[in-house]
């Protein structure tokens, strides 16, 4: 993929003038966002504000109507570019989306073996490495249904890591979890952030945002309303909408 993008090699993600409609409803309105390599972005905002839609556009799970998305210098367009971009972008979903009919080990080796052509031995070695990283190597032979929600989400993170992505997207990774399991998942994500992984995390966990984010992005009605460092964002929000949101979310 050699194109004008290579002049922009410093950025992991470059989103320009992104618009997306669902029929008459505008889900994203002129969204511009640049993410540097190694940068950790936390996106927050009320539900329906377009946070998930935005990160789902980054690996083309959603199409966009206008604007451009550049990932690691590759411009998103045809099927080949989507495939190339997806191979560098991992994603963790709110509902884990593990494959229930496969064991944990099979969940982790499926992508490396089928999409990357690794041998079973290499894929399993890689899978064990990442299962140890998310601290559940002993669950390898179980089915996802036998694991707790927190464990399942950690497996989902390991499954993404097995593809060795440069960028990780997290779509409300703890929203479907019981409260006592949230921290075990966030710890894994923080550990990943500290290792220098480029990531965009959509979450309402503001404690996590303070710990891990380089930059906060606040969205409302499909638009980016405010961005800033966590300190500036939490201590001194610039817009009324952001203040209201923070008040509501930090109340309890």
């Amino acid at each position: 993929m050699v194109n004008e993008a290579n002049t922009d090699q410093t950025n992991a993600i470059d989103i320009k003038g992104l618009n997306k409609w669902y029929g008459d409803f505008q889900a994203l309105e002129d969204v511009n966002l640049t993410v540097a390599h190694g940068e950790r972005i936390v996106i927050c905002g009320p539900s329906g504000s377009g946070k998930s839609t935005l990160i789902r556009c980054v690996n083309s799970l959603e199409t966009h109507d206008s604007g451009s998305i550049m990932v690691d210098g590759m411009k998103m367009g045809d099927a080949a570019s989507i495939e190339a971009i997806r191979s560098e972008v991992g994603m963790v979903f709110q509902q884990f989306n593990l494959f229930p009919h496969l064991t944990i080990m099979q969940n982790l080796t499926l992508g490396p073996m089928k999409a990357r052509g690794l041998s079973r031995k290499d894929a399993e070695a890689r899978a064990m490495k990442y299962l140890e990283r998310v601290q559940i190597p002993e669950q390898a032979d179980k089915k996802p249904g036998a694991l707790s929600g927190g464990q399942q989400q950690r497996v989902a993170i390991a499954r993404s890591l097995c593809m060795e992505p440069k960028i990780m997207l997290f779509d409300e990774p703890t929203s479907a979890l019981d409260p006592e399991m949230i921290s075990e998942v966030l710890d894994v994500i923080v550990d990943l952030a500290e290792s220098g992984m480029t990531m965009i995390v959509v979450t309402h966990e503001m404690g996590f945002a303070r710990r891990a984010a380089d930059r906060m992005v606040f969205m409302d009605h499909g638009k980016i309303v405010e961005t800033g460092t966590p300190e500036a964002f939490f201590e001194n929000p610039q817009t009324e909408r952001c203040r209201t949101f923070l008040k509501q979310i930090l109340k309890h």
């Binding site: 690996n59 799970l61 495939e83 997806r86 191979s87 972008v89 991992g90 994603m91 979903f93 509902q95 989306n97 593990l98 494959f99 229930p100 009919h101 499926l110 992508g111 089928k114 999409a115 990357r116 179980k142 089915k143 996802p144 249904g145 036998a146 989902a156 499954r159 993404s160 097995c162 593809m163």
Partner: protein
Amino acid sequence: MKNIIALTCLSLLAGCGGSGNWGWYVIDPTTPKGWSNITFLLSGFGATILLSVIAAALSMVIGLLVVLPGMSTNRWIRLPSRIYIEFIRAIPLLPMLFWVFYGLPVVLQSMGISVRIDAFWGAVITLALSDSAFTAEIYRSGIQSIARGQTEAAKTIGLTYAQTMRYVILPQAIRRILPPLANQFIYIVKMSAFASVIGMQELTRRANELVVTEYRPLEIYSLLILEYLVLVLAISFFVRWLERKMGADESR
């Protein structure tokens, strides 16, 4: 209702007592004549089973080939599959059987292909085609019942469409479509009786032939119904066993 059933059973049993209306002697296994009649009727089992199994297997393959393009997001790829299903589903089995047996060879001949379609293959082709429209719809409902998150997760770990179907969607869908597929197989077994009208030597044809020589339709057709009952019950038990086996495989 109970009274009616009791009364019917009673009158049937009364017939067995040797009063004039019943002539069980035609299928009395203790007499040489009766025994040879029974073996003549039972010898239709092989053909009925073979016909049903081959037709069902073909129908499952055709159904899959029809349903996959039928679920494309592109309506022009979807259209032929939709037309096939609507068209095939609208043709009653018997006219289709006549068309395949008497008409298709003429069509093939005009195309320069000279093949003789015998009763067996005529029936196999008809049953397989006729059933494939229903099989395709069963597949579709099964595939659509698998949550969209599964496909999305497969995309993010780089699987192609074919790999996603093969390793993620179909293995999960098969458990859900097994009961309706079994239902459809029972339907094929019963519809295979139509093959008798083009002269195929299966259960119903044998019964018809015996009735013509013995003039005892009541007794012979009663046994015929019993034969189908045994066959269908055997299938039911087999499918139950299969479902339990596959259910045990899934720990959730």
